[in-house]
């Protein structure tokens, strides 16, 4: 039981092993193994969710092994393999499990070189789970890089026309982010001689140790590390003006990969900002909150305005992601439990919503061969079920109460209104603009008279409808009873915030 985080992380490798033995021509077998191989992690992460003790603060299911020593100037720096889960990573692990399995189902649309695809796909899952579960920065970095490499190939090989350019841009940007992260981690290592999260917490939250550090001029270094971390995860989130790479990924990667990219990978940015920014650097976060709030505001409005005039549905959703990530920033910048909880809720909620919408995109592209809005229209006539799902997803996207998006938006704004009412009030414009661009996108595609040449479009098969309904179920579940993910994160977030007060 204690090893659960490790099991969850490495379980997909089982599938990798099986896949290696299957000849590449047997595509049906490969597909099924690919889908089934995501199940162990899913089941285990749900088990983790169920057995997670919401009444306990701190890391649970923690385990660590000695990994290696690094001899430096006569000292031996200890590297541990440590894994564990707390209230912040718990919800993210759970949605990763769900989204990966559903994305594997959506990967049935992949028509070529399935073997390589699923190998990388499962590797990607290892990376993502590891990112959320690692309790050592070096380990975290390795997992982070695994996701990068796997995603790079998934985009570059199985994407649309401009896939290679997109993959390169993806790698460049994220490589830049990784470089910043690496620098920051090295800085921490030099300062504290350890990359264990628990050890770092001890030092960073110990006022005596910090005072000593700032006397010896470590303050500047700490600030440098903090800024490097914000840039590293800011690129991932992404924060304006670092967003162009992710637009391309949204538009060019295969939809199943975008489900993961938009649903989980972007959330690694949010996770990193909270885990390494807010939790590790409470003082610096507090000082930088104003800047973060403004950046969030820019994200919200810039993304929303641009989403309105996009011609490609995928780009509408990409810009809407920019806008929605702004809400995460607002939540973080509010520096209270409400806002921070809003940020985590938004990570989870947007994960489900964008996964759902890109599943729809996959199904749509399969039928019409296009996602250009002006070449669609009136599709509700031919595909009522799919259109209904799209409408429901759109409603979730624009923050309709009763669905998950509302809870996160409400909490983020509730939080920010305490500390920065004017920024928050301006941000609520985003709620209106979200309705404007979402309704345009949804209604131009499914309402109105049927677009010429779409008379033979078929409605969904059950293999497509069921995964989408599962996603919708989670979206509604969180919207109707938010405590279902709110409970586990309570104590962890409260602790993080209380450190800021002190």
């Amino acid at each position: 039981m204690e090893m659960l985080p490790s099991w969850i992380t490495w379980a997909p490798l089982l599938g990798v092993l099986v896949l290696l033995w299957i000849p590449r021509e047997r595509t049906a077998a490969i597909r099924w193994v690919g889908v089934l191989a995501t199940l162990p992690s899913l089941v285990l992460s749900l088990l983790l969710y169920v057995s997670f003790d919401t009444g306990k603060d701190g890391v649970q299911f923690a385990h660590s092994l000695h990994w290696f020593y690094l001899p430096v100037l006569g000292e031996k720096w200890d590297f541990q393999y440590s894994m564990g889960v707390d209230g912040l990573s718990m919800p993210l692990v759970a949605i990763t499990g769900v989204i990966v399995t559903l994305a594997a189902l959506a990967s049935l649309y992949i028509r070529q070189r399935q073997k390589g695809y699923f190998l990388l796909f499962l590797l990607l899952e290892v990376g993502m789970m590891g990112v959320f579960l690692a309790r050592n920065l070096f380990l975290f970095f390795l997992f982070f890089e695994i996701t990068l490499v796997a995603a790079f190939f998934l985009i570059g090989i199985w994407g649309y026309v401009n896939r290679e350019k997109t993959a390169i841009q993806f790698l460049l940007y994220n490589g830049l982010g990784s470089a910043c992260m690496l620098l920051a981690f090295m800085g921490l290592l030099i300062l504290f001689r350890s990359l264990e999260l628990s050890r770092l917490h001890e030092v960073m939250h110990h006022s005596g140790a910090l005072a000593q550090l700032s006397q010896s001029g470590g303050d500047t270094l700490l600030w440098g590390i903090f800024i490097a971390l914000v840039i590293a995860f800011g690129i991932k989130l992404p924060i304006f003006p670092f967003h162009t790479w992710m637009l391309r990924v949204h538009a060019e990667a295969p939809p199943a990969v975008v489900m993961i990219h938009s649903g989980v990978l972007l959330k690694m940015g949010a996770y990193g900002l909270i885990r390494f920014g807010v939790e590790l650097f409470p003082v610096q976060t507090q000082a930088a909150a104003g800047v973060l709030a403004w950046l969030g505001l820019v994200n919200i409005l810039y993304g929303a305005v641009l989403a309105f005039s996009q011609r490609d549905l995928k780009r509408v959703l990409a810009y809407s992601s920019v806008s929605h990530m702004g809400i995460i920033l607002l939540g973080i910048a509010s520096l209270n439990v409400y806002g921070l909880q809003g940020a985590v809720f938004q990570s989870v909620s947007h994960g489900f919503i964008s996964a759902l919408l890109f599943y729809f995109i996959a199904a749509l592209y399969e039928r019409t061969g296009t996602t250009q809005i002006d070449q669609l229209g009136g599709l509700a006539k031919q595909m009522p079920v799919l259109s209904g799902i799209f409408l429901a997803g759109g409603m979730a996207l624009l923050g309709l109460p009763g669905m998950s998006g509302f809870v996160s938006e409400f909490l983020a704004f509730l939080g920010l209104f305490e500390t920065r009412p004017w920024v928050a009030a301006t941000g609520t414009l985003g709620l209106i603009l979200a309705a404007v661009y979402t309704l345009r996108a949804v209604m131009q595609t499914t309402f109105g008279p049927l677009h010429a040449g779409r008379e033979r479009v078929k409605d969904s098969r059950w293999t497509e409808a069921v995964p989408m309904l599962v996603l919708l179920f989670f979206i509604v579940l969180i919207g109707v009873y938010p405590d279902v993910i709110g409970k586990p994160m309570q104590l962890t977030l409260q602790t993080i915030i209380s450190r800021m007060g002190g």
């Binding site: 070189r113 073997k115 390589g116 070096f138 970095f141 890089e145 695994i146 490499v149 796997a150 570059g156 090989i157 290679e164 350019k165 993959a167 390169i168 841009q169 790698l171 940007y173 090295m186 030099i190 003006p241 967003h243 162009t244 305005v305 641009l306 309105f308 005039s309 996009q310 439990v337 009136g378 509700a380 006539k381 409603m395 109460p401 009763g402 909490l411 704004f413 209104f417 305490e418 928050a424 609520t428 414009l429 709620l431 209106i432 309705a435 404007v436 309704l439 345009r440 209604m443 499914t446 309402f447 109105g448 008279p449 049927l450 938010p482 405590d483 709110g486 409970k487 309570q490 977030l493």
Partner: protein, 618 residues
């Protein structure tokens, strides 16, 4: 009965789930029965609740919904007398509309979807009514909005319906954001989301006066959007693109009155702020007259009624703003009955005339459809304020509260608007039922399933006034133990005389123009062609919004699209060019060997690790 009143909204919700699951497999009859029975049950239950509900703060029930640090947000129900009355109005009108729709929607290919939406709406509206806290109120407030959107756009393939649905959603959302902020501000300044708690805090003087005003005005912004008050009124007439039973239920009797209900529910906040009261009164009065004047010249039967709804909602706001709490609620109730009746009557006419809605192509229906004619006439008399129909009593109370509050201007505007009301309603009535039939073909029959719900509403439109007159029973019942003043005492004798003669004058003018034809409408039009055009085009408000907001916004979006592509991405390209060497990897990407890639990635990782170690060893 009272303790379990939270079950009431769940009944239509269950119907919604069933209807959604049953889908198109069900025959029309089954779908209609499922919906109607669930709502009937809710209606009967509401009646029971109404009979036993105590005065004052009423009965509460809550369950935890979301924990936030030390705060726990709850969901639940609160039933006091105002809520109980609303429960009954909503479920009753909804039930009648459910029955009526079976005839109106006959043969529609998405029949069960229609009933599913109706049930979902009823659930949301009932949930809204019993909300004990502002957040839950807001949640259901948005849900009724989305149901309205779905039903306006029910005939999704019609471009007009699509545009109208979108407009309704966006315009009401503008107001909703006001309410959203109000909820949050109320939380931060009173420490609670409970409506009773917020009111208590304000009454105890714990909240700064400026903040109270701000919260009240923001709440009112939400009400303006939902209740179609100026300047967010333009969606409501367009909402007539939805099926007529929907117009009766959502866009006349219940949802659009939710704004009025919201102001009534949080009335002590408004009472605490003179500025907010003034705003409510002025916006209400202005809207009442403004919409009524547009209604004078419209030619679509449903649009005339829609403008009349906007105008009547203005009356209710006017009353609330003039401290006429019971007058506003009373008018809300009578209006729900007579306006639902008028819409259902209009629906009967539309069905009989094979979906013709232009009143210039109607006429002479009195002889062929006397039943519908009589019922419609009852509605017209009620809304015009002719005794003993209910509208007379409620409108008189509305005007009385303005008078006694010392708002002479508001009072005068209200009286003028009531002249307009009587005129446009009877213009409508005469054009549809009097004279010769001017349309093509022959009017068809109207089924009895559509007629008897109208009969029930007509009886209520006739009798509902006696809940208050004589003796002011309703006001006492509503305000008992709430601390809100019950009423304004008795009216001066001249007031009923004035209102009745004004209404009679309006009716007489309509009669003169459209029956006796001694007054020529063309002549009036010719005298002020400019004025007529302005009214016909609804004061060009839509055009104004398009020019001032929609177009510039589109321009901004397109400008930013260029900015994003050329400036922001341009910077990226610069960076890309600088790292051109890295891009060469792309040529190798194409050789198609997954194993190679795997190798590359492993090598990459190893390199990274070496780099990592080396970096530390400097």
């Amino acid at each position: 009965m009272l303790a379990n009143a939270w079950v009431i909204p769940l009944l239509p919700l269950a119907a919604f789930v069933l209807l959604l699951a049953g889908g198109r497999r069900w025959k029309e009859g089954v779908a209609a029965w499922v919906g109607s029975i669930a709502v009937l049950a809710a209606c009967v239950w509401s009646l029971g609740v109404l009979a036993v509900v105590p005065g004052g703060t009423g009965r509460k029930m809550e369950i935890p919904w979301l924990s936030l640090g030390d705060t726990v947000i709850t969901m639940g129900m609160e039933v006091n007398r105002l809520n109980a009355l609303m429960l009954l109005i909503v479920s009753l009108v909804s039930f009648l509309v459910h029955v009526y729709s079976r005839g109106y929607m006959r043969g529609d290919e998405r029949f069960s979807v229609f009933y599913a939406y109706l049930a979902l709406f009823t659930f949301s509206m009932l949930g809204l009514v019993i909300s004990p806290n502002l957040l839950q109120f807001y949640i259901f407030w948005e849900l009724v909005g989305v149901c309205s959107f779905l039903l306006i756009g029910y005939w999704y393939y019609k471009p007009e319906a699509k545009a109208a649905a979108k407009k309704a959603f966006i315009l009401t959302r503008i107001g909703d954001v006001g309410l959203f902020i109000a909820v949050i501000l109320a939380f931060w300044h009173t420490g609670t989301l409970e409506i009773s708690g917020v009111i208590q805090a304000v009454q105890d003087g714990k909240v700064e006066a400026g903040i109270v005003t701000l919260i009240a005005l923001l709440i009112f912004a939400g009400a303006v959007g939902k209740s179609g008050q100026f300047p967010l009124h333009t969606w409501l007439p367009d909402a007539m693109e939805g099926p007529t039973p929907v117009s009766a239920l959502i866009h006349a009797a219940t949802m659009v009155a939710a704004g009025v209900y919201l102001v009534a529910r949080t009335f002590p906040l408004f009472e605490a702020s003179p500025v907010a009261m003034d705003t409510v009164a002025y916006v209400g009065a202005f809207t009442a007259l403004f919409a009524a004047s547009i209604g004078l010249v419209q030619n679509d039967i449903k649009r005339v009624l829609a403008y009349s709804t906007v105008s009547q909602l203005g009356y209710m706001m006017l009353a609330l703003g003039s401290a006429g709490y019971t007058a506003g609620v009373f008018h809300l109730m009578t209006h729900a009955f007579f306006k639902a009746l008028l819409f259902l009557g209009a629906g009967a006419v539309i069905v009989a005339l094979h979906h013709e809605q232009d009143i210039r192509r109607m006429g002479g229906l009195w002889n062929r459809h006397k039943g519908a004619g009589v019922l419609f006439l009852i509605g017209c008399l009620a809304i015009s304020g002719i005794p003993p129909f209910s509208g007379f009593f409620s409108k008189e109370e509305v005007l009385l509260s303005a008078w006694q509050d010392g708002r002479w201007g508001v009072f005068a505007v209200g009286v003028l608007a009531s002249f307009f009301t009587a005129f446009y309603m009877f213009r409508l009535f005469f054009l549809v039922f009097a004279g010769e039939y001017r349309g093509k073909g022959q009017p068809g029959p109207v089924s009895s399933g559509m007629m008897w719900p109208m009969g029930v509403l007509a009886a209520l439109a006739l009798l509902a006034g006696f809940a208050e007159f004589p003796g002011g029973w309703l006001s006492h019942w509503l305000t008992e133990e709430t601390g809100i003043p019950a009423g304004h005492g008795s009216a001066p004798v001249w007031l009923p005389l004035l209102t009745v003669s004004i209404a009679a004058a309006g009716i007489a003018l309509a009669w003169g123009m459209y029956v006796k034809q001694s007054v020529s409408p063309e002549q009036w039009r010719a005298r002020a062609p400019w004025g007529y055009r302005v009214l016909l085009h609804k004061y060009y408000v839509d055009e104004g919004y398009a020019a001032v907001i929609a177009l510039p916004y589109k321009g901004l979006s397109i400008f930013l699209r260029g900015f994003d592509r050329y400036v922001v991405e341009g910077l990226v390209r610069l960076a890309t060019a600088a790292v051109q060497t890295a891009a060469r990897v792309s040529t190798r990407l194409q050789n198609g060997q997954v194993q190679t890639y795997a190798l590359i990635s492993v090598i990459g990782l190893v390199l990274l690790m070496i780099g990592l170690a080396a970096g530390r060893l400097f």
